[in-house]
Symmetry: D2
Subunit: 346 residues, 4 copies
């Protein structure tokens, strides 16, 4: 950590700051420049994070040097994490998670129809929401446990691992009985109690980036889960808020190689929520794979105009099939594989 | 609701769309322009919100006309809401809520010292966090129930209503036993289950705007609380994410008159979290009152450099006292009052 | 255009609005809903753009239906524009413009060295700045006409078309004597006089997206050039301002398919300025091609640490060569070609 | 300047970096931490700005310590700048510039009518555009020199200094003959050639903040004008791009005290362009004055529905009169004055 002092900070203020740092068991290196004095702090930076140095008179700026995340960092683990997600599906290390399904679970028949088609197209994980975070209290909020049962049945029937969103720490035990993977939605990326709670389960967690989260914020939220002992966190870019309303959110694909440099965790991309526009999803899915993403998360519905949630952003099954064809070729070019879901669900 | 069709949409597609709308019990008004056809929908727009019209072939855009919030709207209640918050303190209708206190509750002695000074300066509500939403799992997370007890004791002792943050639906009952007002933090503004839960209590709720929430998003989150039967929601602007990192967040004061036009709910301003800089807090507090805010929320700490959370953004007690002097004069100019906290807490 | 009226707008106000529209030679379709009245305007919408309808009492919102750009739109020209850029290089219709070179022209020897290496790697257009838009008046501002001469010489020598930035309408004639393609930088995207001026030349224009420009803003700026009679506009995405400062700007790749839907103009991507980080440029270049971009613009310098402008974001020649290898394979997969620069410059 | 090295940077890389810095005539202070080595650079930091240190192998981050602006900084001039603007009007040091008038100059009669009413209400500077930066090439672009003549006549007649926008370096001489103050619009804030050009005139410059400019960007653009020898720069906050489209832009009032800390230059606020909504302008004008702004810039039109540009955001003359009444009272509370425009124009 580097502490930049204000111009002309008097000696007694400098001594006061240095004394504070020594109290914390750290060493200092005071560098007097032509215009400013700078104090380098030598030792375990974490001790300082809680100490509000910026509040001390004379301090102009405090510049952290070390990253605040540990377990999520490449420095902690150099090689890519590779996880088993069930039914022979892995993610990371060149294996792509192709997650597909409707926004909300609406019934067994329709889910089975969609799931059958996306599996045939090459999807290896089935998604569907039973508890939906809706901005309006008057909108359809999901089928709840009935939806979970349907999802489990369809996943078992087709031998596909399933993923569904958990919104509330009180739902963790219930959902744990039905799902293979927990999803934490963008709006809950900094719901720290929920993160801690899924951090104590044994299920992989799909952690979606919050709409105004920077890359460090995302990795710090992953750190909450990892710190609880759960090592299987999959990050997911799904668009951030921006000024251009021609798309629902702004897809930030540069976060993919950015995360790859900072962390060993896999990161996938959700172009459905990012763009909200089916006409842009194919191009953005291909771009995601080319950018090095470990998977793509796409909403598919066989009758978007009757979907109970987010219908307009879903691909039709035949559009998904065509897209998967292209993704497979592209994955081949980059020596990536799309593991087939098979066998008995875990 | 207005449905704009793509250029040259064939008649059978138009008929299909019209038929869908009629199925929902609504009437249509089809207007054929030179380049496009537009369908006006006449009737209860809410029925349509769940129907994903944009997914129907031929539809280019769907333009909602009515606001999605009801109970929070000025159309539902024309006059300003005025709430009793305890100890003679009200908010709304010209009465200002002056909330002050430390970021986190650290101990009874220090809280009493800070609270005594801010009350003497004119603050009428005491704040302090017992459960802290920290971006790092390794940071101080608050004193928990011990902190709540301290807050209650100090509030009772000084006859001030108290406000503290609730982060988890499982904490609602516990915190309800100690606090006068629930605070929902920015990161939980769209934690819909938490909103529903406090919506079923009888305590006022201070709802902070999320970092990437628009004015409609904020009012929709208030709607969740109101829909649960709890009418006492106080909105709070606390800065949004922006590209300029010279301040912690970007204070959006225009939301104050914007909300006043759309809603009857009171709205206060938190310049401490918005700017993160004590040197900007006084000017922004005065600007907030001049903009028509129903109160100001300011962090105060008697020793910011020893604060366990967010010390650098706190005002010192004497700075708060000087600022309150100016706020009082300004409030007088605008015929606003700052009710004194007194008597026995409710 | 649709005019949404406030609830309970009195009849005389409605009549007044209708009369105004009729004055402009347009027809109206008044649709009285349960809660609101809506007026559809039938006729040439452009007439209305200058008429500030929102200022008329009773009007709540004015919703335009038609796009404000004409010559740039797909509706004006359905098939992709394909341009000749000189030396056998074309862009659009499956041909990729691979622009490479240093940020600033620093001398003939170094430019020739860089240009030779990028041409050997497959670049088909040479870039270099002679006039640099620098945020500080004390920074290196470019070599001016001396730089232009160097660029022309190197371009002629290697038979590569060259592109350089024009910042001032007074420079257009001078730069026109040396360059093959004008570049309009992001900061000048809405310098409308400059746009008009290059719109009257016969040279292709590389128009970079402004840092806070939406897709419509970008296409409207292209419209200024097209309206002057110059049909050869190449759009360029180079990142927008965002809250996450881990990259210099935020690369918005979704604008590529978004533009393709709205316009016939080619669009290329500049990952160098977008990310400002050489470690992210390869992944973002590949993603750009996968997203459907008509080219990639990359800064290359053989000694970034001695570059006079933007050194840290440049690729080294051998990094560019490796990247071009991958881009070529990817282009092949999508049936795109990279025309070789050859023969005599135009 | 502080140079943070990557973990485990080898000694020879460190030596290479140190050697580079010494070549530039600067001294170094190398501080070897537990995890990283940090190099403090002692001497004139500006020498380093052009040297792309981040490109040197081993360098992770370069942290500048000194501000890049000089002449605009408080360190260069401690006391507030106070300027004479003509007709007895000054700005800065407690004197408020109250700029009012229509968006565009449309004719002498209408301008005189508006100007007479705003002067009677207390405005001391008249604004009006003769050259309009319009996003569409098909929109009304202003009356040009005819407009300038009208503005001059009305200003002379009423003894008010006038301000009008200059968009192009080629217009500087012409506009200089008619105006008292140059306005640089938000879209041209980084049109560096234009800034240099007005920096060589003797007229005060009203410099509007760009839509994606941070506070440092704004002050650097002011630096361009100051470096040319023109000391009279008035900054103007007019809203930045944000994600919430309920207002046209996002008014950032915190920049007012932020600038006051960093610079001696006066800063005013334009709530008309910032919000684009007349219903929000009064509250935001009052908030601006309470925040410490040195003036307010408001669009006023006597018949907004017939205005040729930006009508919907203009106040009516009687609304402006009522607002000025409130502003005067508020200014009194803060011991600010609104100099009356009088006598002969300069």
């Amino acid at each position: 950590m580097i502490i930049v002092l204000k111009p002309n900070t008097p000696s007694d203020q400098i001594d006061h700051i240095v004394a504070r740092i020594h109290e914390l068991g750290l060493r200092t290196d005071v560098s007097r420049g032509v215009k400013r004095t700078i104090i380098g702090v030598i030792g375990e930076e974490d001790v300082l994070r809680n100490a509000p140095l910026r509040a001390i008179p004379g301090v102009e700026e405090v510049v952290p040097i070390l990253k605040p995340f540990k377990l999520a960092s490449r420095e902690f683990q150099a090689e890519d994490s590779v996880f088993d997600l069930g039914c022979g599906v892995t993610v990371g290390g060149g294996a792509l998670a192709m997650i597909a399904g409707p926004c909300a679970i609406e019934g067994e028949e329709i889910l089975l129809e969609i799931a059958t088609s996306v599996k045939a197209a090459g999807a290896n994980i089935l998604r569907g929401g039973a508890y939906k975070p809706r901005t309006s209290p008057y909108s359809f909020q999901g089928l709840g446990e009935d939806g979970l049962k349907i999802l489990r049945n369809v996943g078992d029937h087709l031998h596909m691992p399933v993923v569904t969103e958990v919104m509330d720490p009180r739902q963790v035990d219930l959902i744990d009985r039905y799902t293979d993977i927990f999803q934490i939605g963008a709006r809950n990326m900094q719901n720290f109690n929920l993160l801690s709670e899924v951090g104590q389960t044994k299920r992989p967690v799909l952690l979606k980036r919050g709409m105004s989260a920077g890359v460090t914020d995302l990795l710090m939220s992953a750190e909450y889960i990892l710190a609880g002992g759960n090592k299987r966190v999959i990050l997911c870019e799904r668009g951030i808020r921006s000024f251009d309303n021609s798309t629902r959110n702004l897809l930030d694909l540069a976060i993919v190689p950015n995360v790859k440099g900072l962390s060993h965790l896999p990161i996938i991309v959700d172009p459905s929520h990012a763009t909200g526009r089916p006409d842009l999803i194919p191009a953005m899915s291909l771009a995601a794979v080319a950018a090095g993403a470990d998977g793509v998360h796409i909403e598919v519905h066989s009758c978007p105009e009757k979907a109970m949630s987010d219908g307009p952003q879903a691909l039709l099954p035949h559009q998904y099939r065509e897209l998967m064809q292209q993704i497979r070729e592209l994955a081949g070019l980059f020596h990536k594989t799309i593991p087939a879901a098979r066998g008995v669900a875990p």
